[in-house]
């Protein structure tokens, strides 16, 4: 089943495009900080210097090299997304499996929690927490992950419910496999493609959210992030710096989110045969 999916994915144009661009962005985020010549916090250059050989994208209002700033910002933003995606996925898989295996009171309570959380606009809670406690980005990532698991958990539960009645799972239970054993050995690996979809969708949403929150000034101002850069650059929109300061940040953000969107769409399409017939 998994091999099949990989083959279908490889033939999908959106997936190839998304994977190449995402890979490129992740590569820059991982390796870039070692390649750029300056520390993004170093404030010793002439503010608002035009782009030159020393500073390919110029210098910002605080005398920091914009290229270094951009690369570090990209790393922070993508890191935030990956962290939220990973955490939300772990919670979602745990809750979804528990709700499917102990289908009954436990399952019903867990799913009611999911429905209630889905109704709450998570950005509002994040704004409240960020404004009151001024926590680090990691704490906000935790909060966001804690608010965004329900959609994936519902999908995991639905599939696990179907799997629970599959012959091989019933056989494993019949032969005395404990709940933990059957879940870990049979259910968890079987749903692998679902995790990819969940992770990509959540990470994309988190990058989006981080940019908005940073734009609103809810993160530590010293922490470089794409939304924060746009926020700062927009304050000097009347100067001629918009194409070397504002535009690169906007471009990085849009391209990352767009590429993740391509991945999410093609994964969903490949995994849900009902959707596959809709396209093309």
């Amino acid at each position: 089943m998994h091999l099949d999916i990989m083959a279908t994915l490889k033939g999908d144009r959106w997936f190839t495009m998304g994977a190449i661009v995402t890979g490129f962005m992740v590569f820059i985020a991982l390796v870039g900080p070692y390649l750029v010549p300056y520390n993004p916090q170093e404030m010793s250059f002439q503010p608002f210097a035009r782009p030159s050989w020393e500073h390919p994208l110029g210098v910002n209002d605080g005398g920091q090299d914009i290229l270094s700033e951009l690369v570090h910002a990209l790393r922070n933003s993508l890191g935030f997304g990956a962290m939220v995606g990973g955490l939300a996925l772990v919670v979602a898989v745990g809750v979804g499996l528990a709700a499917a295996w102990y289908d009954g009171l436990v399952g019903r309570v867990l799913m009611s929690c999911a429905v209630i959380l889905m109704a709450i606009p998570s950005v509002m809670i994040l704004i409240l927490v960020a404004a009151l406690f001024q926590p680090s980005a990691w704490v906000l990532a935790l909060v966001l992950a804690g608010l965004s698991w329900p959609t994936t958990a519902k999908a995991v539960r639905a599939q696990a419910l179907a799997l629970r009645n599959a012959l091989h799972v019933r056989a494993a239970v019949q032969m005395g496999g404990s709940a933990m054993y059957v879940i870990a050995r049979h259910l968890v690996p079987e749903m692998f493609p679902l995790y990819l979809v969940g992770f990509v969708a959540k990470a994309r949403m988190a990058v989006f959210m981080e940019a908005s929150l940073a734009f609103l000034g809810l993160f530590d101002p010293g922490r470089k992030s794409l939304g924060g850069m746009i926020h700062c650059a927009l304050r000097y929109y009347y100067m001629d710096t918009w194409w070397n300061w504002l535009f690169p940040a906007v471009l990085c953000l849009s391209v990352s989110i767009m590429a993740a969107g391509f991945l999410a769409i093609s994964l969903e399409r490949v995994l849900d045969p009902r959707l596959r017939s809709l396209w093309g």
Binding site: W14, S112, V115, I116, L117, M118, A119, I120, P121, S122, V123, M124, I125, I127, L128, V129, A131, L132, F133, M205, F208, M209, A211, S212, F215, L216, G217, L218, G227, I230, L234, Y237, Y238, W242, L246, V250, L253, S254, I257, M258, A259, A260, G261, F262, I265, L275, L278, W279, G280
Partner: protein, 324 residues
């Protein structure tokens, strides 16, 4: 059957009410979890120095232990405290900003939903044609660009370089002119932020409408309608599109929570005097009562819309009450 419909809607409404209580409780409990006391936290890092008498008075005011019931009562009576930075009651600030947000976000929603739905229906009808492929491709690309990017680009091109539209605000201040002029002026200011929101909402609506329309077009009753010799327009809209409407509406409720973020960002970019800008300025000046008020108010509004939608679904599609 009637009973089933009502019970289902009531069950969903109960979920939203629980969500609302959780939010209200969080807004009550979170500020109390803050380390240290509120007055020190607010004034220690500011330029204002309090005299000993002022400090003790402020502390007495902010540390009086207020039960949850009293807090609820205050909320219901619209007594949401005073803004530190603007020295006005929070509720009146919110009510002043609300109409602008409603015009901007509501207008953008209506335009984006209607256009997206019609485009989706037409594209699905011409499925596989060049128009359909071009629309799906471009909309999928557009979906990845968020409000922030669209807003910044529109601002740079149309306001700063071409000078076609103003860069911010909702109307020209201190201008005394006739009603018609004022309306034109407001529309002129509204154009860019509204266009930004429409561009970012449209792709989602289009893709959803197209997909649900494609599903409906495969059904047998469409074949019957055609076989009866009905005019094409009637099959397309009265038979097919009518049934494609429900998924679009259901997803609308779910997406609403995310759209709030977009409105806040767009209002900030164009300094439009709605709730988003109010929130942004409150965050910048660490105006906690105002932040709390706006957050609570907008979450409640999102939940209320979702709740109202529950009743609309069953009206639009009687099948939903038979769903498990």
């Amino acid at each position: 059957m009637r009973l089933g419909r009502e019970r289902k809607a009531l069950g969903n409404v109960a979920n939203f009410l629980v969500a609302l209580s959780v939010l209200v409780y969080l807004s009550y409990a979170l500020p109390r979890l803050m380390p240290g006391d509120f007055v020190t936290a607010m004034f220690a890092s500011s330029h204002v120095t309090l005299s000993a008498e002022q400090e003790s008075r402020e502390k007495a005011y902010f540390q009086r232990e207020e039960g949850f019931a009293l807090y609820l009562l205050r909320l219901v009576r619209l007594d949401w405290g005073w803004s530190y930075a603007l020295f006005q009651p929070v509720s009146s600030l919110i009510l002043q900003a609300l109409p602008w947000t409603l015009i901007l976000a509501g207008g953008a929603h209506v335009v984006a939903s209607v256009c997206g739905f019609v485009m989706g229906v037409e594209a699905a009808w011409r499925r596989g044609s060049r128009v359909d492929k071009a629309l799906v491709g471009s909309m999928t690309m557009l979906e990845g660009i968020q409000e922030m990017a669209v807003g910044v680009v529109l601002l740079a091109i149309f306001a700063l370089h071409l000078h076609w539209f103003p860069t911010g605000g909702a109307q020209t201040p201190h201008a005394e002119s006739s009603l018609v002029h004022r309306l034109v002026d407001m529309a002129h200011h509204l154009a860019l932020p509204m266009a930004t929101l429409v561009i970012s909402y449209l792709p989602g609506n289009f893709l959803l409408a197209r997909n649900s329309m494609v599903m409906v077009l495969g059904e047998e009753f469409i074949l019957t309608a055609r076989a009866k010799g009905l005019p094409e327009k009637r099959v397309r809209y009265a038979h097919a599109a009518r049934n494609a409407l429900l998924p679009v509406l259901t997803r609308f409720g779910l997406r609403l929570a995310f759209m709030v973020t977009g409105v806040v960002v767009v209002e900030t970019i164009f300094s439009y005097p709605g709730l988003g800008t109010l929130l942004f300025n409150a965050i910048r000046s660490r105006d906690l009562p105002l932040i709390q008020g706006v957050v609570l108010f907008s979450s409640a509004a999102v939940l209320a819309v979702n709740m109202a939608l529950e009743f609309v679904y069953t009206r639009i599609d009687p099948r939903t009450c038979h769903a498990p």
